[in-house]
C-alpha cells in the first residue's frame, strides 16, 4: 500500500466482441510524475484509461490506482482520481460556475466549500471572466479547461486526461499545456493519453507507446529518442529504383521513408565515421544517393520505427476527432 506507484498495471486484456483492444498491457506510473500513453487513434488508449478510472472492466489482468485495486476497491479509487475524457462532461445550459459547484457537491464538498473552490479553480484556469456565462457559449479551449476544472473539484491525487488537446487549435492547446504543467508542479500524478508526440515530449517525464494492444516502448522522451540513435540520416535518392533497392536493403532499419519524395531516413549517432559507413553500405556504387542531411531524431522517428506508421502531427485539428473507443 505504501507504494511509490500511482498506477500499477499487469497483463491487462480487453476485447470487444472478437476485437482484441488490449492484449497484455503492463505499465507503472510513479507518484507525482507526468506519464503519457502515446498511441494512434484506436490503439486502445481510451480503453486503458476507462479501465483505470473504474468505468470499464478488463477481461484479464490487474490494475492498482493510488494503491487500490480498480475492481475490488473501485469506490475508494473513484474518490482519489479524476477523469477528463474526450467528450466534455459539462452542461452547456449551466454556467461555468454552476457546473463546477454541481461537481463539487457531488464530490462531497459542502455548499460553501464548493463555491470557494469553484472561484479558485476558475481563477487558476483563466475562466473567472466567463464564470456567469453558459458553458455552451464557451470556445473549445475554454470548455476543455472548464471540464478539467470540474474534474478537480474533489482534489484527486491521480488525474487521468484522455487526449486533452485533441480538436483544439494552437492557442487552446498551449493554454491547456500551461494548465497541465501547473497541475504537475503541485505534486499530483498525471496520466495523459495523446496521439501527439510533441505533447508527450513537452509534458511527460515518462512515455509509453501503445500499439497493437501492447506497450511497444517505454522510457523518458530522451531515452526513446536514443533508441533510434539520437540522430537521423536523411537521404534523397536519385530514382524510384534506387529508393526501392535501398528500402529493401535496410529493411527494419528505415525509420521513415517517402517514395514520392524519394527520401529515406535511418538512425545514426551522427559521427562522420558512422555516416560514411552507412553511405558506403547503402550506395557502394556511389550513384544511388543524391543528397544527405543529418538531423536530431524526434519522437516521430521513434514512433515510426516502432510501429511502422506515421504518427499524427500537431497541426491544429479542424474537425473534432471521432469516437475512438469502441
Amino acid at each position: 500500500m505504501a507504494s511509490d506507484l500511482a498506477v500499477e498495471v499487469t497483463g491487462l486484456r480487453k476485447a470487444y466482441g472478437r476485437l482484441d483492444v488490449l492484449s497484455g498491457v503492463d505499465l507503472t506510473v510513479e507518484r507525482g510524475s507526468v506519464y503519457s500513453l502515446l498511441g494512434m487513434n484506436g490503439a486502445g488508449k481510451t480503453t486503458t484509461v476507462r479501465i483505470l478510472a473504474t468505468l470499464a472492466r478488463a477481461d484479464a489482468g490487474t490494475a492498482r490506482v493510488a494503491g487500490f485495486d480498480v475492481v475490488a476497491d473501485r469506490r475508494i479509487v473513484r474518490r482519489r482520481i479524476s477523469l477528463t475524457g474526450q467528450y466534455t462532461a459539462i452542461d452547456g445550459a449551466q454556467t461555468g460556475a454552476e457546473n463546477l459547484v454541481m461537481m463539487g457537491r457531488l464530490a462531497g464538498l459542502a455548499r460553501a466549500a464548493a463555491r470557494r473552490r469553484t472561484g479558485a479553480l476558475l481563477e487558476q484556469f483563466d475562466l473567472a471572466g466567463a464564470a456567469r456565462r453558459k458553458a455552451g457559449t464557451y470556445s473549445g479551449g475554454m470548455r476543455r479547461r472548464l471540464d478539467l476544472a470540474a474534474s478537480l473539484m474533489g482534489s484527486p491525487e491521480v488525474i487521468f486526461l484522455d487526449e486533452p488537446t485533441t480538436g483544439l487549435d494552437l492557442r487552446g492547446r498551449q493554454a491547456m499545456w500551461q494548465v497541465i504543467t501547473g497541475l504537475a508542479e503541485s505534486g499530483v500524478t498525471i496520466f495523459l493519453t495523446t496521439q501527439y508526440l510533441e505533447e508527450a515530449d513537452q509534458l511527460a517525464s515518462r512515455v509509453s507507446v501503445l500499439h497493437g494492444g501492447r506497450i511497444v516502448a517505454d522510457g523518458s522522451p530522451g531515452e526513446l529518442k536514443q533508441q533510434v540513435g539520437g540522430q537521423r540520416l536523411d537521404l534523397v535518392l536519385v530514382s524510384g529504383a534506387a529508393f526501392d533497392e535501398t528500402v529493401r536493403r535496410l529493411g527494419r532499419r528505415v525509420v521513415r521513408c517517402d517514395r514520392a519524395e524519394l527520401t529515406v531516413g535511418l538512425a545514426t549517432d551522427g559521427t562522420a565515421g558512422h555516416v560514411r559507413g552507412l553511405l558506403d553500405e547503402i550506395d557502394p556504387g556511389r550513384s544511388a544517393v543524391q543528397r544527405f542531411a543529418v538531423h536530431a531524431a524526434s519522437l516521430d522517428d521513434v514512433f515510426l520505427a516502432l510501429t511502422g506508421h506515421s504518427p499524427a502531427t500537431t497541426e491544429p485539428a479542424h474537425t473534432q476527432k471521432e469516437n475512438s473507443h469502441v
Partner: protein, 271 residues
C-alpha cells in the same frame, strides 16, 4: 496553486469527504435537471402550451359532436391531463438520452453517482414540469366552464393518482431514453404514450368505438387512470378504476425501475 491540486499528503483530509451521500447526490441531480428544464425554454413552452391547445381544440371543435351526457370539458379534462404526462415524458426521454450520448454520465459515475440518483433527477424534474402544466390546464379549463364537484379528499386522491401516473410514465420514458441511441430516437419512441390516451375512455365513451378496439381500450393503463380521475373530480362512483389505476402505475414503475437499473449498467459498462 497548492490549495487547488493538493499534494498527496495535504489532500488526505479533504479527500475524506470526497463522494457525496446518496441523498445529496440525488438532490444535486434533481436541482440540475430542474435548472436544465428551466433553461430549455422552447421545449418547456411547448410542453406547457400544447396540452392547453389540445383541450381547446377538443372542447370547441369536436366537443359539440361528441355526446357524453355532461359538458364535454368535464368529460375530457382528465384525458388532457394524462396527455400532458405523455408530452412531458418525451422531454424526459430526450433529456436522459442527451446525457447518455455525452460524456457527463461518465463524470457522474466517477463521482459515484448511481443510475438511480441520475434518473431520479430527470423523473422529479418531469413531475415538477407536469405539475405546472396540470395547474395551467386546470386554470384554463375552469375559465372555459369546467365545473368539478370534488370534495377536498377527492381532489387529493385525484392529485395522487395523477402524480403516480406521471412518475410511472416518466420512469418508463427514462428507460426509453437509456435505450435509445440518440435523442431523436428517444423522442420518436415516446410516441406510443401520446397515442394511448386517444384509444381510451378519455375523449369518447368506449361504447362508441368499433368492437375490435373496445377490448384494448378497456384494458390499457390510460383508461382506469382517466376513469378514476374523472370520478373523483366529478364526485361520481369510481368503481374499481382507482385500484386498477394504482396497480398499473405501480406495475409500470416497478418494471421501469428494475429495467433502468439493468440498462444503465449495460449502457455505461461499454467501452
Amino acid at each position: 496553486m497548492s490549495e487547488l491540486a493538493l499534494p498527496a499528503g495535504a489532500a488526505r483530509a479533504a479527500r475524506a469527504a470526497r463522494s457525496a451521500s446518496a441523498r445529496t447526490s440525488a438532490l444535486v441531480m434533481i436541482s440540475r435537471s430542474l435548472r436544465l428544464t428551466r433553461r430549455n425554454t422552447d421545449a418547456l413552452v411547448t410542453a406547457l402550451i400544447l396540452p392547453v391547445m389540445l383541450m381547446l381544440l377538443f372542447v370547441y371543435l369536436f366537443g359539440g359532436a361528441i355526446h357524453t351526457g355532461t359538458a364535454y370539458v368535464n368529460y375530457v379534462l382528465p384525458a388532457v391531463l394524462v396527455l400532458c404526462a405523455g408530452f412531458g415524458s418525451a422531454l424526459t426521454a430526450v433529456g436522459v438520452s442527451t446525457d447518455m450520448t455525452g460524456g457527463i454520465v461518465d463524470r457522474f459515475r466517477s463521482l459515484d453517482v448511481g443510475g438511480t440518483a441520475f434518473l431520479a433527477g430527470h423523473v422529479v424534474a418531469s413531475a415538477v414540469r407536469n405539475a405546472v402544466s396540470t395547474v395551467l390546464v386546470l386554470g384554463v379549463a375552469l375559465a372555459i366552464g369546467f365545473r368539478p364537484h370534488a370534495s377536498p379528499v377527492g381532489w387529493l386522491i385525484a392529485a395522487g393518482i395523477l402524480l403516480a401516473f406521471i412518475v410511472a410514465v416518466s420512469w418508463l420514458s427514462a428507460v426509453i431514453g437509456l435505450l435509445a441511441g440518440s435523442p431523436e430516437t428517444a423522442n420518436g419512441a415516446t410516441f406510443a404514450m401520446l397515442f394511448l390516451p386517444y384509444a381510451s375512455s378519455g375523449f369518447v365513451p368506449i361504447a362508441t368505438m368499433p368492437t375490435w378496439l373496445r377490448g384494448f381500450a378497456r384494458h390499457q393503463p390510460a383508461t382506469p387512470v382517466i376513469d378514476s380521475l374523472r370520478a373523483h373530480l366529478m364526485a361520481t362512483p369510481a368503481g374499481t378504476s382507482t385500484w386498477q389505476a394504482l396497480a398499473w402505475c405501480g406495475g409500470i414503475l416497478v418494471v421501469s425501475a428494475a429495467a433502468s437499473a439493468v440498462v444503465f449498467q449495460r449502457r455505461t459498462a461499454r467501452g
